[in-house]
């Protein structure tokens, strides 16, 4: 509702004050461009979807693996946790060109960027889930004679699943952003590439088309993961005793 209202205000304002199209195009012309330009940009769209999905899969696998390793080896957690946080303080915008210098213009540096953006929220959320494992259930597992493997697979892993999914959902939206950023730097296709082209030729309407698709994609990934979450996570995260 609020969104529709905003769009209406935007439309009337840009008509009323005669804002030039290259500064702020009205929603109608963005809509027009979305339809007319489809055949021009749809391959960019597919490229970005592909890139962000592959990046997301790699990034979340890395994220989950790192979380499991850090959880199972406490020494490693002490040593690496601060490094993880530092890694997130390096702006990706600075890092990305460096990666291009090191790894060229291929798909590798792009995947590294997305992985870097994705793994962090997953690792942190999953680690949190592991650490908050109920002490009572843990005590029961010990009394029942469960070994480390059983405790992990029967207790800690299912317990961390809801946290893992909140990490995955954040990462899914980040992955689209990561893909677009990596495409700005050196790509021959993708929404990021399309966006740079559009903005340097003052086709502001196309920039907005790109934004529209970035938002839509993020929402789509988010929704997809929420759906999977409902299928996989069978019980509420916390049992109210």
């Amino acid at each position: 509702m609020v969104l529709i209202l905003l769009i209406i205000i935007w439309e009337t304002a840009s008509k009323l004050f005669e804002v030039p199209e290259w500064i702020l195009p009205p929603p109608t012309s963005i809509g027009q461009e979305t339809i007319i330009g489809w055949s021009d940009y749809n391959h960019h769209l597919w490229a970005t979807i592909q890139l962000s999905v592959i990046g997301f899969v790699i990034g979340s696998s890395v994220g989950i693996l790192v979380a499991i390793c850090l959880h199972l080896v406490p020494v490693l957690r002490e040593a690496i946790y601060p490094l993880l946080i530092i890694s997130q303080n390096i702006p990706i915008i600075i890092l990305a060109p460096l990666l291009v210098v090191w790894f060229g213009f291929g798909i590798l540096p792009k995947l590294i960027v997305i992985t870097l953006v994705c793994f962090f929220p997953i690792t942190i959320a999953t680690l949190g889930g592991f650490r908050q494992t109920s002490r009572e259930l843990h005590h029961y597992m010990l009394m029942a004679g469960a070994n480390k493997r059983q405790i992990f697979f029967k207790l800690e892993w299912p317990h961390a699943l809801p946290s893992l999914f909140s990490g995955l959902k954040i990462a899914a939206t980040y992955s689209v952003m990561g893909a677009v950023i990596s495409e700005w730097l050196g790509a021959s296709e993708g929404i990021g590439y399309y966006m740079t082209l559009a903005s340097s030729s003052f086709r502001t309407d196309r920039v907005f088309v790109a934004i529209l698709f970035i938002v839509t994609l993020s929402l789509l990934f988010f929704g997809l993961l929420s759906f999977v979450e409902r299928k996989v996570v069978k019980a509420p995260a916390q049992e109210d005793e």
Binding site: S134, E136, L137, H139, Y140, M141, L142, M143, A144, G145, A146, Q150, K154, L155, P158, H159, L161, V233, K234, A235, P236, Q238, E239, D240, E241
Partner: protein, 244 residues
């Protein structure tokens, strides 16, 4: 077969002695209660029997074998149900067996659940159950575990008086059908009297066996027992014993 021997077990944490020279045994198929005030080291005793904590001195024997410091030899029912929220009732009941044997007998579990008055709840999740029902599932889980010795740690202390009485009767009815050796910890005199063959009264800090009392009431026991003269006499005895 399930014969538990606790021999001369002592345990201190720092300067605080919690258990002092504790010795007792539970015979095969016997129901023994440990009665003591809260905080008298009952949980520590269970952790030692369960092999989580090592005793400072003494040892635990099960069927003649030294099991001190070894986990997985007893079946355990904790104070709060401790059901796994992502497992169904059926899966929760099977958990103990799954951990020890790695395989499960679903058919038998279904039967037990039905006989325990939980038919139709096999596929329900713990958050859909009431407190009493959760305890039932938790008890079934410990009964379904393959160990011959069951340790129950104040399993009904979180329930209200009515549910509690009902659960005690229910527990006896199940136990009389599947006779196992039981070590039951409680701070409730009436509960100990109603359920046990023998009661061990624990003293407060450090815990010693202050008194041992054989309860001769015949089984199966009826609810009216609680109001009989001899029951009340025992209750009085135990009450004074605990006040000392």
């Amino acid at each position: 077969m399930g014969k538990l021997d606790v021999q001369n077990v002592s345990k201190s944490f720092g300067n605080q002695q919690v258990l002092q020279q504790l010795s007792f045994s539970v015979q095969d198929g016997e129901f023994v209660s440990i009665l003591g005030p809260s905080g008298s080291g009952k949980s520590t005793l269970f952790n030692i029997i369960g092999g989580i904590t090592a005793p400072d001195t003494g040892a635990i024997y099960l069927n003649g074998q030294d099991i001190s410091g070894l986990r997985g030899n007893i079946s355990y029912m904790p104070q709060n149900a401790s059901l796994f929220p992502w497992r169904t009732v059926l899966q929760n009941v099977l958990l103990g067996e799954e951990i020890v044997l790695g395989k499960t007998d679903e058919e038998e579990a279904r039967e037990m659940i039905a006989k325990a008055g939980l038919q139709g709840y096999e596929q329900a999740y713990p958050h859909e159950l009431s407190g009493g029902m959760k305890q039932r599932v938790s008890f079934l889980r410990s009964m379904k575990s393959p160990q011959s010795m069951i340790c129950l740690d104040e399993p009904f202390s979180a329930l209200d008086e009515f549910t509690r009485a009902e659960m005690q009767k229910w527990l006896l009815s199940i136990w009389e059908k599947h006779r196992r050796s039981v070590l039951f910890v409680t701070h409730n005199i009436e509960e100990a009297l109603f359920l046990s063959d023998r009661i061990l009264v624990l003293s407060n800090k450090p815990a010693r066996i202050q008194r041992e009392l054989v309860i001769p009431f015949e089984r199966p026991r009826e609810e009216e027992l609680v109001l009989s003269k001899s029951f009340l006499d025992y209750k009085k005895q135990l009450y004074y014993e605990l006040r000392e």
